[in-house]
């Protein structure tokens, strides 16, 4: 059984006098112990809201409704009361956020921000907690941890801050770590170090990792399984390699196609997906991606596309998917598909830690 099973998760914000917003609209995915799962999509596709809903961290407001199931190790996270949720947060499931500066309390020393987790979940106090905190900072690669414990966030560099946040997240050896765009606010060389650190931590401790990102380079380097989100729903799920080699959903195809390539000829234009994520069709009326889709057919509109389970455990939500290799491509499919998207995504991220997988072979 999977460590985390998210089933038909939905988050809606209802406002009087305004249209109800379906931020997350039936997301399902699962995470096995020790697995790295990616949630990928453009801004506004519901990836952050998904993670906040799982953690119970959505800002409380009237009109907010969370539906579906999220079973973590036998308990449905969405049904927990506030108290048990606080017990799980930080201990069994931890989270790393996007902007390390604003995510740290500016007026409290780093040390206390680390030890407060240890005190809360592991009952450690005083010198023992400080010693453990120093060990944690050391583990995430912060030099001179004893001195850093007394410092404040503004005295640390961006990369150090994110390392400190990671130290807080792994303090109780959680079984699941959710990283919400952990490298977006950092510059490229630091990004690489942070991703490398996360990979090491996950490998050493067997922690499962949900990686929320819009960066396909990150996905290519880290994730075992990838879920592509569009308009609050998972449109394609696949292992990393098949996804990059033969994306089936036209949106995935478009995402891969819009990655700039180093080996592109001069003057060659990028291949963006036309339109914006706001041009969506509500899911009940058909495929939300249809208004922007290059492979749109009449069947796209009318009712939501069913989930198609393909042979190798992958699934996609499309009535006219990009053809699997070996079949004759239809003209519409050829345009946005690049010949080797995985290589291009990884090349794009060369500065990133993630060397392109070793068994990579050129077709």
């Amino acid at each position: 059984m999977a460590l985390l099973d998210v089933e038909d998760l939905s988050v809606t914000f209802a406002r009087r006098g305004q249209r109800t917003v379906h931020a997350v609209d039936g997301v399902s995915f699962s995470v096995d112990a020790g697995e790295v799962v990616g949630l990928v999509g453009e801004s506004g596709c519901g990836k952050s809201v998904t993670s906040l809903a799982l953690m119970g961290l959505l800002p409380k407001q009237p009109g907010l409704r969370v539906g579906g199931k999220a079973v973590f190790d036998g308990t449905d996270l969405l049904q927990l009361d506030d108290r048990s949720r606080r017990d799980i947060r930080g201990r069994d499931i931890a989270m790393i956020f996007q902007d390390p500066l604003s995510s740290l309390n500016p007026v409290i020393p780093i040390g206390l921000q680390v030890t407060e987790v240890l005190t809360r979940h592991r009952g450690m106090k005083g010198a023992a907690a400080e010693k453990e905190a120093a060990a944690l900072l050391d583990r995430v690669g912060i030099p001179d941890p004893k001195r850093r414990l007394k410092e404040y966030p503004h005295q640390l560099s961006g990369g150090m801050r994110q390392r400190a946040l990671i130290a807080m997240a792994v303090a109780c050896q959680p079984r699941l770590l959710i990283a919400d765009e952990p490298t977006t606010a950092l510059d490229v060389t630091i990004q690489a170090q942070i991703l490398e650190l996360l990979k090491d931590l996950v490998r050493d401790s067997g922690t499962a990792l949900v990686m929320i990102t819009h960066d396909l380079g990150v996905v290519a380097g880290m994730c075992d399984t990838v879920n592509v989100l569009y308009a609050g729903r998972v449109v394609e799920t696949a292992r990393r390699r098949p996804l990059f080699r033969e994306p089936r959903h036209p949106y995935t195809v478009g995402l891969l196609g819009s990655v700039p390539r180093l080996d592109a000829g001069r003057g060659e234009r990028l291949n963006p997906i036309p339109g914006s994520v706001r041009d969506v069709l509500p899911w009940p009326d058909g495929c939300a991606f249809a208004p922007r889709c290059a492979r749109r057919v009449d069947e796209c509109v009318g009712e939501p596309p069913a989930l198609v389970l393909a042979h190798d455990g992958r699934s996609y939500r499309c009535v006219n998917p990009a053809p699997a290799p070996g079949t004759v491509p239809t003209p519409a499919a050829t345009a946005p598909v690049v010949d080797d998207p995985l290589a291009s995504a990884a090349a794009e991220a060369t500065a990133s830690p993630v060397p392109a997988p070793r068994e990579e072979e050129k077709p």
Binding site: M55, L57, P59, D82, R85, R86, D87, I88, R89, G90, R91, A94, M95, F97, D99, S102, S103, L104, N105, P106, V107, I108, P109, L112, E116, V117, R120, H121, Y152, H154, L165, M168
Partner: protein, 334 residues
């Protein structure tokens, strides 16, 4: 830190110099003068001129100012033209009353304002929130002296719960040491005297606290609402910390910065608000005395008192700046 304090105190010198020059000119430009106050309607022009010459008021204004500054350097603020006692004596006797009143008012405003503002933010959009926001609007709008009269009429004259005037019941014969009546009572263990002085403080303090209270409620509320949406509060929640730890350690402390600033600024307003409140409650502090001094054209008293108030104001704001660095490491002074 030490250099910061010294620098700030040195900045005080040009400030006081400028203020004293302005004050000097303004006061001398007021129509009438001490001679009219002393002689009243009966004085002949010759008598007035004699008094003016006697006081040195017939000399050019810059000469007068030069004499004032020379005396000021020796810490001599002169003698009141109306009470014939030295300005310093008057000040030492009266200032403690105003300080007591201001401290009482500020404690009320902070003690009620911060918790109320915090709760209003937590219960945003509910009854308590609307009540405190609406209430604070009323608090800001009502003139202090009017509120003072209303309080006095209801709670002192009609209900008789509190004394209507004065700082202490003179029949108690309390011992005076510092002229801080509450403090004196505690030091001499004359508990009844301390309690009585405290009792006399209630109504004037409530009247005086109304505006700072209203402002502190609003600033606290806005600041807490802002901090509640900060990313680091979400991080604290994500760590699974208990609600009380999140509130205390992460929300409250961060939301105190703007409140502390406003407390410093409000303290200045408190000293001027005291003028009206003290007059209504016949509370013998500097406020009532300054009011009197203006109508008497008592130049030495006005000059001396206003300059000392300016010094106090600067010192309070220096304290505020120092307390800043206790709260926020980013502005820690070097």
């Amino acid at each position: 830190m030490f250099r910061f304090i010294v620098r700030r105190l040195l900045q005080l010198i040009p400030t006081l110099f400028g203020l004293s020059l302005l004050l000097f000119i303004w006061l001398r430009r007021l129509p009438g003068g001490p001679e009219t106050a002393i002689l009243g309607e009966r004085g002949t022009p010759e008598m007035r001129a004699a008094i003016r010459r006697n006081m040195g008021l017939d000399e050019p204004i810059l000469v007068q100012y030069g004499r004032f500054v020379r005396r000021l350097i020796r810490l001599d603020l002169g003698t009141s033209t109306s009470t014939k006692r030295t300005v310093v004596t008057e000040f030492v006797e009266r200032f403690p009353g105003t300080v007591e009143l201001s401290i009482a008012a500020m404690l009320l405003a902070i003690g009620i304002g911060i918790p109320l503002g915090y709760l209003a933010a937590r219960r945003r959009g509910r009854f308590l929130d609307h009540a405190s926001v609406g209430g604070s609007l009323i608090g800001i709008c009502i003139p202090v002296f009017f509120l003072a009269y209303v309080l006095k009429a209801i709670f002192a004259e009609n209900l008789g719960w509190f004394p209507a005037s004065g700082r202490q019941d003179p029949t108690l014969g309390a011992t005076r040491i510092t002229n801080f009546f509450v403090l004196d009572g505690l030091m001499t263990r004359e508990w009844d005297a301390a309690a009585d002085a405290l009792w006399h403080l209630v109504l004037p303090a409530v009247a005086l606290a109304s505006i700072p209270l209203a402002i502190i409620v609003r600033i606290t509320r806005a600041s807490v609402l802002e901090v509640l949406n900060e990313d680091f509060v979400r991080t604290a929640e994500a760590k699974g910390l208990t609600e009380s730890t999140v509130r205390r350690r992460h929300v409250l402390r961060n939301s105190m910065l703007p409140v502390v600033t406003s407390i410093g600024l409000l303290t200045g307003g408190l000293l001027s608000g005291a003028v009206l409140t003290e007059t209504v409650f016949a509370f013998s502090g500097i406020g009532a005395f300054i009011y009197e001094a203006i109508s008497q054209r008592d130049y030495p008293v006005l000059m001396g008192f206003i300059l000392i108030i300016a010094v106090v104001y600067v010192l309070v704001n220096l304290l505020v700046d120092l307390s800043y660095s206790l709260i926020d490491p980013r502005v820690r002074v070097r």
